[in-house]
């Protein structure tokens, strides 16, 4: 039982990651691919934040009468990673817009039919 209590969080997060990953690799529509990429990354962020949680701790901002804080380091890492994620999303979506203009479609199999990549 304690086994489940110890790990349920990670397991659900793994499920979420894989849902995102599945969308990325199976979607044919480029916008959906980007959505999947974001879901994948957000789920990884959840894994990190779960690492940082301390039971009975509070947010890592010094306050009177609080002795136990959660670990601030994963929070810092994920702040950085979120920014990296949105940067990638922005460039990816810009590429999608340009692809639409160049090919008239954002479905992967359709523009691959028009132009073999190699």
């Amino acid at each position: 039982m304690s086994f489940i209590v110890d790990y349920y969080n990670y397991w659900i997060v793994v499920f979420l990651m894989m849902a995102g990953f599945y969308i990325v690799i199976s979607a044919n529509n480029l916008v959906k691919k980007i959505v999947g990429l974001n879901i994948f990354q957000t789920s990884v962020f959840m894994m990190y934040i779960s690492i940082g949680k301390v039971q009975g701790g509070s947010a890592p901002i010094v306050a009177d009468g609080i002795t136990s804080y959660s670990n601030p380091l994963p929070h810092v890492l994920i702040l950085t990673a979120i920014v990296v994620g949105v940067a990638t999303t922005a460039v990816g979506l810009a590429l999608v817009v340009r692809i639409k203009r160049a090919y008239g479609t954002v479905e992967e199999n359709e523009f691959e039919d028009k132009d073999a990549l190699i």
């Binding site: 990325v24 994948f40 990354q41 990884v44 990673a81 940067a87 590429l95 523009f111």
Partner: protein, 513 residues
């Protein structure tokens, strides 16, 4: 007065120059600034290589916070060597780019090209020098984002889809690395590479750490285009502007190979990765399949850039092969091939870029008769091509020689034989182009435009690399010494410990100064 800051300068200088480039607005000025900054970084990198050869490891604590609390830059022989290659190639490519991008990228985008190039250089230098696992991820993403931009700058619409595919694969790779780093952090509580190494060393076999390593290796394999995960590379290199192809082919994947070396040897330790997890067999098989599959594919390509891209994937196979031999000699051969391959591929892609500029095509048909019309370009191409094949007196021969020796040392006759067969395939694909260039008559073009030799600004960097290919094929003292020292250092955990204490005294010295 800046000597003690040298480890961080190859990252900081391009990072400062990138926004300045954008502010300058004029492409000429931006080009000048980018080239000068890249050149200075190269000089610094070379001096760092000399220092590390002399006294081992340099450590630089950013923000004055001692590791593992702060982020640390660590320079040893291995990354100083690759850093010199990256900054050197970057400088040459920038010189080359001035004329090359004039025909391939619209005028209004030129400053953006230089800015993105500098950001990419920042990222690559950062990946090489950092001693912190998460910091590595951040720099990986800087270089990747800049790369997507660079690839998509080409006017061909296929560049867009190539860049998109690259973006999706690259981000999946980076996220996998992030997962792996998270798992390492979870078990050890630290992100500093040396600290991680020390703490991972306490575990004999741990499922979380194994998974972490697996994810990191898969993520890095995507970035370095190891065989089944290489599908993003050929389109990206084919459709990117020539200067970008030349830069990426000779630096980006090499840096990723170095990241793999770093995770395997510095953090987990060869013992853990190869003996506990048996990764060497997997890497060995993938490397050999990569060499054969991609060399074969390269022989049937009609677009020369695509052919060179597949050849790159095959050559990466040789580097991984060196690593997977699990000996100092093998690792040294791998590192040496990183160095030499950068020289060859840089020159080859530059030559193809020059041909593309003059003929408007990178198809093998466009190469017909170029031996007469573009003699200098084709001569450089020939030298670098011979180097890829591994003809004696070229750099390629040296690294293949060491690779074969390393394999024979282990009694792996089969592997040594396969490496030689791989070279035969290289003869086929390089030979096709040389045949077209020297023994076929040019196709009569309708426009009846005479093809001129490439401009001097493009020939000079191309020839510097071509001459380097011969120089490092004859005088191997510098490259072999550095690669040997690096391999020894990476392979011996005890040596790392010794260097660690040495670096501490060095940093104390720096502090005293």
């Amino acid at each position: 007065m800046f000597e003690q800051h040298f480890p961080v300068l190859p990252i900081v200088l391009p990072l400062i120059a990138a926004p300045l480039c954008m502010l300058l607005g004029r492409s000429q000025l931006a080009w000048l600034l980018a080239t000068i900054v890249s050149g200075i970084s190269f000089c610094i990198a070379v001096s760092l290589l000399m220092v590390t050869l002399d006294q081992g490891v340099l450590s630089y604590a950013l923000g004055g916070w001692e590791p593992p609390w702060g982020i640390e830059m660590r320079l040893d022989v291995a990354n100083a060597l690759i850093l010199s290659v990256v900054t050197g190639i970057s400088t040459l490519v920038l010189v080359y780019a001035k004329d090359s991008i004039a025909t391939e990228i619209p005028q209004s985008q030129h400053t953006l090209f230089y800015t993105a190039h500098l950001l990419c250089l920042t990222g690559l230098s950062g990946i090489l020098t950092t001693g912190d696992a998460f910091n590595l991820f951040v720099f990986l993403e800087i270089s990747s984002l800049a790369t997507y931009t660079l690839v998509s700058l080409a006017s061909d619409r296929r560049a867009l889809t190539a860049a998109f595919r690259y973006l999706v694969m690259g981000t999946i790779g980076a996220t996998f690395i992030l997962i792996g780093v998270g798992m390492m952090y979870m078990k050890t509580g630290t992100l500093n590479m040396l600290d991680l190494a020390a703490r991972i060393g306490e575990f004999e076999y741990n499922r979380t750490l194994n998974t972490g390593l697996a994810f990191i290796l898969v993520g890095v394999s995507i970035k370095l285009a190891l065989f089944p995960l290489h599908m993003w590379l050929p389109p990206a290199y084919t459709h990117a502007p020539s200067a970008v192809s030349a830069f990426l082919a000779s630096t980006a994947t090499k840096v990723a190979v170095y990241v793999m070396i770093r995770f395997i040897f510095t953090i987990y330790g060869a013992e853990y990765v190869f003996y506990s997890m048996g990764m060497d067999v997997i890497l060995l098989v993938l490397a050999i399949v990569a060499i054969f599959n991609c060399s074969f594919v390269a022989t049937v390509q009609s677009n020369v850039k695509t052919m060179l891209a597949y050849s790159s994937v095959a050559q990466i196979g040789y580097m991984i092969l060196g690593i997977s031999l699990v000996t100092t000699a093998g690792l040294m051969a791998g590192l040496l091939h990183i160095f030499n391959h950068a020289l060859m591929k840089g020159a080859l892609f530059m030559a193809v870029g020059a041909v593309f500029m003059r003929t408007g095509s990178a198809d093998i048909k466009a190469f017909r008769g170029l031996g007469k019309t573009m003699p200098w370009t084709m001569a450089a191409f020939t030298i670098a091509g011979l180097s890829i094949i591994g003809v004696p007196l070229t750099a390629g021969f040296v690294s293949k020689w060491y690779l074969v020796t390393a394999a024979l040392e282990q009694q792996h006759w089969m592997i040594a034989f396969l490496v030689l067969i791989g070279s035969l395939l290289a003869i086929v694909y390089i030979g096709r182009i040389l045949e077209a260039a020297y023994f076929k008559d040019p196709v009569q073009s309708a426009s009846d435009k005479t093809i001129k030799e490439a401009p001097l600004m493009m020939l000079v960097p191309m020839w510097i690399l071509a001459v380097a290919n011969i120089y490092f094929g004859i005088d191997t003292s510098l490259s072999v010494t550095a690669a040997d020292a690096a391999a020894n250092w990476l392979f011996e955990p005890s040596a790392q410990a010794v260097f660690q204490s040495a670096s501490q005294s060095a940093s104390e010295l720096g502090a005293a100064r």
